[in-house]
C-alpha cells in the first residue's frame, strides 16, 4: 500500500475513529477494567493497595471458597430458581400467546395487551413494595384466605415455598411481555396450513396442537436456548427486595451471596472469586447458546 493511498484513506476514515473513541474508552474503563480487576480473585485484596500491589495468593481464595458450608446450597438455589423460572415463564407465555391469538374482538385484545404488558416496566422496588404489602401477615392475600376460612400463610418467611413465591411473582410480571415474541411467531404461520388441517377434519384444538405449536417451535427452542445462557441469573433485584435471613436456605443465590460477602462484609477477594466463576460459566453458557441458536436456527443478533 503506498503512502498516498493510506493518507487519503485516513483522511476519510478519521471521523469514524473519532466518533467511536469516546464510547470505546468508556467501555475500556468500565467493562474491560473490571475484567482486568478479576486478578483480585487471586489476591488478598486490599482496596488501599489496589489491583497492582495487593498480595498475590494464587488459588487460596478458591480453596477457601469450596470449604464454605453454604456455597453449594447457594449454587443449588440459583440453578433451581433460574431453571424453574425459565420453564414456568416459557409455558405461561406460550399459553397466553395462543389464547390471545384466539380473541377475535380487536379492541378487547388491545386492552388486554395494554394491561398485561404493564408490570414488565415497573421496577422490582415498586413490585417488591407491592408484594411485601399484599403478601404480609395482615396483607390482602392473607385477608382473603382467612375470609374463606383458610389459615393465613407466611409467604415471604417459609423457606420451603419461598422459591415458588419468586418464580410465580416473576411469572406474573413477565408473562404478558414474553408473550409478544410468541404472538409474532404465530402471526408468521402460513394460514394455508390451517385451512389444509381444517379440510383434513382437524378441529381448533387439533389445529393448535398440530399447526400452531409446531409453527412456533423454532421460536420456542431459540428462546429456551437463549434463556439457558442466563441460568446463573436468578434475579438479583427481585430477590434482594423479597428475601430475608429466614429464607436464605432456599432463597439465597450467587448474586445475593456475592453482594453480601463482597460489599456488606468486605470479603472482596472471596466474593470476586465467586463472581469470576459465575462469569466463566456464564460466558460458556451464553456463547454456547448463541452459537447453537445461530448454527441450528440461523438466529443472529447482528
Amino acid at each position: 500500500m503506498n503512502s498516498i493511498k493510506t493518507s487519503s484513506r485516513f483522511k476519510r476514515e478519521w471521523p469514524l475513529y473519532a466518533m467511536i473513541s469516546v464510547p470505546a474508552l468508556l467501555v475500556l474503563i468500565y467493562y474491560y477494567g473490571p475484567m482486568f480487576g478479576v486478578v483480585m480473585a487471586f489476591q488478598k485484596f486490599e482496596p488501599a493497595l489496589g489491583f497492582l500491589r495487593s498480595k498475590f495468593v494464587g488459588l487460596g481464595n478458591f480453596e477457601r471458597l469450596f470449604k464454605l458450608p453454604d456455597i453449594w446450597e447457594v449454587v443449588r438455589n440459583t440453578l433451581f430458581i433460574a431453571s424453574m423460572k425459565i420453564i414456568v415463564e416459557t409455558i405461561a407465555a406460550i399459553l397466553v400467546a395462543i389464547l390471545l391469538n384466539e380473541i377475535q374482538r380487536k379492541k378487547f385484545k388491545r386492552t388486554v395487551q395494554t394491561i398485561i404488558y404493564a408490570p414488565y416496566f415497573l421496577s422490582w422496588v415498586i413490585l417488591g413494595g407491592i408484594f411485601r404489602d399484599i403478601l404480609a401477615a395482615d396483607g390482602l392475600v392473607n385477608n382473603l384466605l382467612t375470609a374463606v376460612g383458610m389459615e393465613s400463610y407466611n409467604f415471604l418467611g417459609q423457606p420451603k415455598t419461598f422459591p415458588w413465591v419468586l418464580i410465580l411473582t416473576e411469572t406474573w410480571q413477565l408473562t404478558g411481555f414474553n408473550a409478544i415474541v410468541y404472538l409474532a411467531a404465530i402471526a408468521n404461520i402460513d394460514p394455508n396450513l390451517y385451512e389444509a388441517a381444517a379440510i383434513d377434519g382437524a378441529g381448533r384444538l387439533k389445529q393448535t396442537w398440530y399447526v400452531t405449536i409446531p409453527g412456533m417451535s423454532s421460536y420456542i427452542v431459540v428462546m429456551l436456548i437463549l434463556n439457558l445462557g442466563y441460568i446463573l441469573n436468578a434475579g438479583l433485584d427481585q430477590i434482594l427486595m423479597l428475601y430475608s435471613s429466614v429464607v436464605y436456605s432456599t432463597g439465597d443465590v450467587i448474586d445475593t451471596w456475592v453482594y453480601r460477602a463482597g460489599l456488606q462484609n468486605a470479603q472482596y477477594s472471596l466474593a470476586s472469586a465467586v463472581g469470576l466463576l459465575r462469569s466463566i460459566v456464564s460466558l460458556i453458557m451464553v456463547a454456547g447458546s448463541y452459537y447453537i441458536a445461530y448454527k441450528k436456527f440461523d438466529y443472529r443478533v447482528f
Binding site: L26, G37, V125, D298
Partner: protein, 293 residues
C-alpha cells in the same frame, strides 16, 4: 376463519373470562396499593381496605411530600434520568454509526464490533466493577449512576442494525457533495432513524428511572440515593415508629404501611405516564435478532 359451532362459542366465552381474570390479577395489586395509600391507617390495619380506599385521606401523601429526603431523592432521580439518557444516547449513536459501516469503509470495524460484543459475553463481576468505580473517584457522585453503564451495548447493536438498513445511495450522494461522516451522520442518518432513536430514548429513560442497585452500592451516603434506592431502603427496613406522642392524631391516619404504599405509588407514576409511548414503541424495540425458517 369464521367458526360458529357451539363448542367454539363456549371456548370464546371461557377465553374472555380467562383474560378478564388475568387482567384483574395484573391490576389488583397495583390498585390495592393505591387504595392503601389513600386510606386511614386504622382501616388498613383492620384489613378493611381491598380495592377502594376506606376512610379516605391524603395524609400519607401530605406527610411524604413534606419530607426533605423524599424531594432530595426525587431530584437526584430526575437529574440522573436527564444526564443518563443524554449520555447513553450520545454514546449509542457514536458507537453505532461507525459500526454500521462495512470493513471497506471502516477498516477497524470488526475489531470494534468484537470489542463491544465481548462485554455482553463476559464481565468482571460486581466486586471488580465496584472497585473500578471507586478508583475512578465516582463513589457518592451522580456520575457513578451514569458512566459505568454509559455505553448500552445492546442498544448499540440495535441501532447499528437500523443504520445498516439506510439506503447507501443517500450517503454516496452526500459524499459527492463533499460532506464528511459527521455531517452525514447528523443530516442523513439521525433524521431517518428518529423512530428507532425515540424507542431507545424511552427505554433508556425507563431503565434509568427504575435502576436502584447501583445507587445502593455506589452511594455511601444515603443522602445521595436516587428515588428508587431511597425507596428500597425504606421498604426493606423493619417498620419503625416514626412519630412522637404529639402526633398521635396523625398516627390514626397514617402508618408505615400507608406511607410505603404512597411512596411506591409515587415512584410508579412516571412509568405509568410514559407507558402509552412505551407501548407504541416496544414492539419495534423487540425486533433485535431474528429467526429464519
Amino acid at each position: 376463519m369464521i367458526d360458529n359451532t357451539l363448542s367454539r362459542r363456549v371456548f370464546n366465552v371461557i377465553n374472555i373470562v380467562f383474560f378478564l381474570l388475568y387482567c384483574l390479577i395484573c391490576l389488583v395489586p397495583i390498585i390495592h396499593i393505591f387504595s392503601v395509600s389513600l386510606s386511614s391507617s386504622a382501616s388498613v390495619s383492620a384489613g378493611r381496605v381491598s380495592l377502594l380506599p376506606v376512610d379516605f385521606t391524603l395524609k400519607s401523601y401530605d406527610y411524604v411530600l413534606k419530607k426533605d429526603e423524599f424531594w432530595k431523592a426525587l431530584s437526584i432521580s430526575v437529574i440522573r434520568v436527564i444526564i443518563g439518557v443524554v449520555v447513553n444516547m450520545l454514546m449509542t449513536i457514536l458507537a453505532a454509526f461507525p459500526l454500521s459501516k462495512t470493513t471497506k469503509e471502516f477498516k477497524a470495524k470488526n475489531f470494534f464490533v468484537w470489542f463491544f460484543v465481548f462485554t455482553l459475553l463476559f464481565s468482571g463481576g460486581m466486586i471488580p466493577t465496584y472497585m473500578i468505580v471507586r478508583y475512578t473517584g465516582l463513589l457518592d457522585s451522580i456520575w457513578a449512576l451514569v458512566l459505568p453503564g454509559a455505553v448500552p451495548v445492546f442498544n448499540v447493536i440495535l441501532l447499528m442494525n437500523f443504520f445498516r438498513a439506510v439506503p447507501k445511495e443517500l450517503e454516496e450522494s452526500a459524499f459527492i457533495d463533499g460532506a464528511g461522516y459527521f455531517r452525514i451522520m447528523w443530516q442523513i442518518f439521525l433524521p431517518v432513524s428518529l423512530p428507532a432513536l425515540a424507542t431507545l430514548t424511552v427505554f433508556t429513560m425507563v431503565s434509568h428511572w427504575n435502576s436502584w442497585f447501583d445507587g445502593m452500592i455506589y452511594m455511601n451516603d444515603a443522602r445521595n440515593y436516587p428515588l428508587q434506592t431511597y425507596l428500597q431502603a425504606i421498604l426493606v427496613s423493619p417498620n419503625t415508629k416514626l412519630m412522637t406522642k404529639a402526633q398521635a392524631e396523625l398516627l390514626r391516619l397514617i402508618s408505615d404501611r400507608t406511607l410505603k404504599a404512597a411512596q411506591v405509588f409515587i415512584a410508579a407514576i412516571p412509568i405509568l405516564l410514559v407507558y402509552p409511548f412505551l407501548q407504541r414503541y416496544f414492539v419495534s424495540g423487540l425486533t433485535l435478532g431474528s429467526v429464519k425458517g
